[in-house]
């Protein structure tokens, strides 16, 4: 089994869109996949899946509850109408408790107990013969995102070509990625303007800035003290929302790109 985490320095770069579509596509390709909504701060998978053509065929417990010891690992995995695809949802019920030791344990250091639970889950999935366990991780450097990074075999670092992302990426590489051992790092450049699209942008300043930002990210990755090869560049597709395109729209450009991306993972 391969454990993959989609991580980024900051939110809004497209982690959820990419991880969900990748996970579903891998399942459609015959792989047994478990996708975990590990953005404990702002979980979104449940609403995403219930609004798609997917059918969740079980009502599993929350992953957040598992992490704090309320549930067993087998109780949190939702089966779906797709044979190979399983998903795990988080909720913010515990986070809404204003004063709670459990909340503190979950959001702060946690004394390694949350890490141990996460590892238990990875081990459980391994025993259930999953081919891929995919974590859609919360952005930034928090104790919980560190947990996901530590238990992963592969880390997909998702970035966007914007100026602030360059300095953020540099920071997260030097402070965090360079200190991880055992996991392979790959970068994904998302929402990149294509040459033909740039031709339609009237302002040359914007065009130059877009090019500079891509170069800045690439340079940052090249100069990194740790190897983070660029695995895939996703083009910017207008009007893309958080949907499962690989399922709903087989000819959509994103579906085609995801297929290409999955072939690289496999």
């Amino acid at each position: 089994m391969e454990t993959i985490t989609f991580h980024s320095y900051r939110g809004g770069v497209g982690k959820t869109l990419l991880s969900v579509n990748t996970a579903v596509k891998l399942a459609l390709l015959g792989k047994k996949v478990c996708l975990v909504d590990f953005d404990l701060r702002a979980p979104s998978h449940q609403s995403l899946f219930t609004s798609s053509s997917f059918s969740i065929t079980s009502a599993a417990k929350s992953f957040t509850g598992f992490l704090v010891g309320n549930h067993e690992p087998q109780k949190v995995i939702n089966s779906t109408d797709r044979e190979n695809f399983y998903c795990v949802f988080s909720d913010i019920e515990i986070l809404q408790r204003k004063e709670s030791k459990i909340r503190t344990k979950l959001t702060q250091h946690g004394e390694g107990r949350i890490l141990a639970k996460l590892f238990e889950f990875v081990r459980y999935c391994n025993s259930q013969k999953f081919d891929f366990l995919i974590f859609d991780c919360m952005p930034g450097i928090t104790y919980r995102s560190l947990d996901a990074l530590v238990v992963s075999d592969k880390i997909m670092v998702v970035t966007r070509p914007v100026k602030s992302e360059i300095s953020g990426l540099r920071l997260v590489i030097s402070e965090c990625y360079s200190k991880l051992e055992g996991a392979k790092l790959f970068s994904i450049l998302n929402q990149v303007e294509q040459q033909e699209d740039l031709a339609h942008i009237p302002n040359s300043l914007d065009v130059n800035l877009a090019k500079e930002n891509v170069q800045g990210i690439t340079k940052c990755l090249e100069e990194s003290s740790v190897s983070i090869p660029l695995l895939h560049t996703f083009r910017r597709i207008p009007f893309v929302t958080e949907r499962i395109y690989v399922l709903d729209e087989k000819d959509h450009p994103l579906t085609i790109e995801i297929e290409d991306f999955c072939s690289k993972i496999l």
Partner: protein, 495 residues
């Protein structure tokens, strides 16, 4: 509230904390991959520089005052008394301080409560059993309400003694086993054991060897009788053991199978500590032969878990796992006297893999049905399996599995508690051994927990301080330290 609305309280570590966390995480993951328990790491709270400065001042001043305490201010050199024969009497001030260390711990289950609940029930059974002649039918009273009849056989007694012997030496339970064998039943006087079947002889041998190093025995007149009986039993068992195949030749009317091999392995493991009674080289030779036999029988042929037991009629994975778990526990004992033999490691790994596969497939909540109608042999086996599995996992430091198993076990015990305890089936002794096993599991689990957590500990320490100038220095230092600490705490609270 801003935390909840903003980042919902998810803490971003400082660079140093991040480095520490990653380092400890890696270590914890490595441990867990090896089947050991995770590390519980405490975040380090950096002390403010100002506080450290004050503390340094306190330490320096107290050091100076300590030096001062060695100077006798009343000595002839320090006063004008010219009488060199003056005797100075130094009185001692004795104070008692109590230090309390309290670290909050979160145990996955309430072990203390479970032990408290289990002990009286087990005691009720044991007290009834040992109240008078154990072979007679005695009434049993549980919680003052239930009366029934109970017979305990030699086999059950031996089993009980063996289980009790596995608690820590000189613990309450261990002592109970000792008193059963040395005071209540005087097993070495039972020469009739020599005419019993091999199974009984194996059980008796195991129980007797367990306590054979005890001072009660070694200093008693019974030592010779004990040694003779043990030696005879040992010879009987050895002669029945096939030196070529490593298995037992069934004697008349006895069906011998894996249980006996396990018993024999437990006997062998125990004999290691008694070179004066037995020839150690023979023991080692037999142990290796036995291991080789088991090794061959556990080799899988088609990739599926395969038991080494071929004589069982009740064939099921669960039943096999019972043997395999027991075997792992026996192998652990072997390794303590045979050293780290590759065959032991391979066997342990193989058995453990089988066991893990079997247990991962079981839905224990369904299998564990204790009520009057289903409290039968199969459910006992399931409970035994679970208990052995817990102990096996504890032995191998697989804390998560032990934790998980124990939690399920506890839930089921609670759910079916009353019907289990009031069962009219003739399984009271099985209940007893199960429950003692459970206690043993709790105790082992507790030990495992204490290796990674700190419990409330109160201890009184007595310190002596000199009076006079030196005494004042000490008191001054203590007061200063307390004041600094109070001011530090107050500032922290204000922050």
């Amino acid at each position: 509230m801003s935390e909840i609305r903003g980042n919902k309280g998810f803490e971003s570590p400082s660079q140093k904390d991040l480095d520490d966390y990653l380092r400890q995480s890696r270590k914890s993951i490595t441990q867990m991959k090896d089947g050991r328990p995770p590390i519980i790491f405490k975040p380090k709270k950096a002390l403010p520089t100002k506080f450290l400065g004050i503390m340094l001042l306190v330490v320096v001043s107290s050091s100076l005052m300590l030096v001062g305490s060695f100077i006798n201010f009343d000595s002839p050199r320090n006063n004008n008394n010219t009488d060199t024969t003056t005797t100075v009497t130094t009185t001692k001030l004795t104070t008692t301080t109590t230090t309390t260390t309290q670290v909050e711990t979160t145990l996955p289950i309430d072990i203390e409560k479970d032990i408290t609940t289990s002990i009286p029930l087990v005691e009720a059974f044991i007290n009834t059993m040992i109240a008078s002649n154990h072979s007679l039918i005695n009434p049993i009273v549980i919680n003052g309400t239930i009366n029934r009849s109970q017979t305990i056989s030699d086999l059950e007694l031996f089993d009980l003694v063996w289980i009790l012997s596995q608690f820590d030496e000189n613990s309450e339970w261990w002592n109970l086993g000792r008193s059963l064998i040395f005071e209540k039943y005087l097993l070495w006087n039972k020469t009739s054991l020599l005419t019993e079947n091999l199974r009984t002889q194996l059980l008796a041998l195991r129980s007797m060897i367990t306590y054979s190093n005890d001072n009660i025995l070694l200093e008693s007149d019974a030592l010779e009788s004990y040694q003779n009986l043990t030696k005879q039993l040992w010879e009987n068992v050895c002669s029945a053991h096939d030196n070529v195949t490593g298995t037992f030749n069934p004697d008349n009317g006895t069906i011998l199978h894996t249980n006996d091999q396990i018993l024999f392995s437990q006997v062998l493991a125990k004999t290691a500590g008694h070179p004066t009674l037995f020839n150690f080289s023979i023991t080692t030779e037999k142990a290796i032969l036995l291991l080789n036999t088991i090794y061959t029988l556990t080799e899988s042929t088609d990739g599926l878990p395969e038991s080494f037991d071929t004589n069982l009629t009740r064939v099921s994975d669960v039943y096999y796992s019972h043997h395999q778990a027991a075997m792992i526990l026996a192998l652990d004992k072997f390794s303590s006297f045979l050293g780290s033999l590759a065959i032991i490691n391979t066997l342990t790994n193989r058995l453990n893999n089988f066991l893990m596969n079997i247990f991962l497939q079981q839905d224990w909540s369904i299998a564990f049905t204790y009520n009057q109608t289903s409290h039968n042999l199969s459910s006992k086996i399931v409970l035994n399996d679970q208990l052995l599995f817990i102990r096996t996992n504890i032995l191998q430091n697989k804390r998560n599995f032990a934790d998980y198993t124990l939690s399920i076990l506890k839930l089921n015990f609670e759910a079916e508690n009353s019907s289990y305890f009031t069962s009219s089936a003739d399984n009271q002794t099985q209940f007893l051994t199960d429950h003692v096993h459970l206690l043993l599991s709790f105790e082992e689990f507790l030990i495992l927990e204490t290796t990674i957590t700190t419990y409330t500990d109160t201890e009184a320490t007595s310190t002596e301080y000199p009076t006079g100038a030196a005494g004042f220095a000490w008191e001054f230092t203590i007061i200063l330290t307390v004041l600094v600490f109070i001011s530090y705490r107050r500032r922290k609270i204000e922050e």
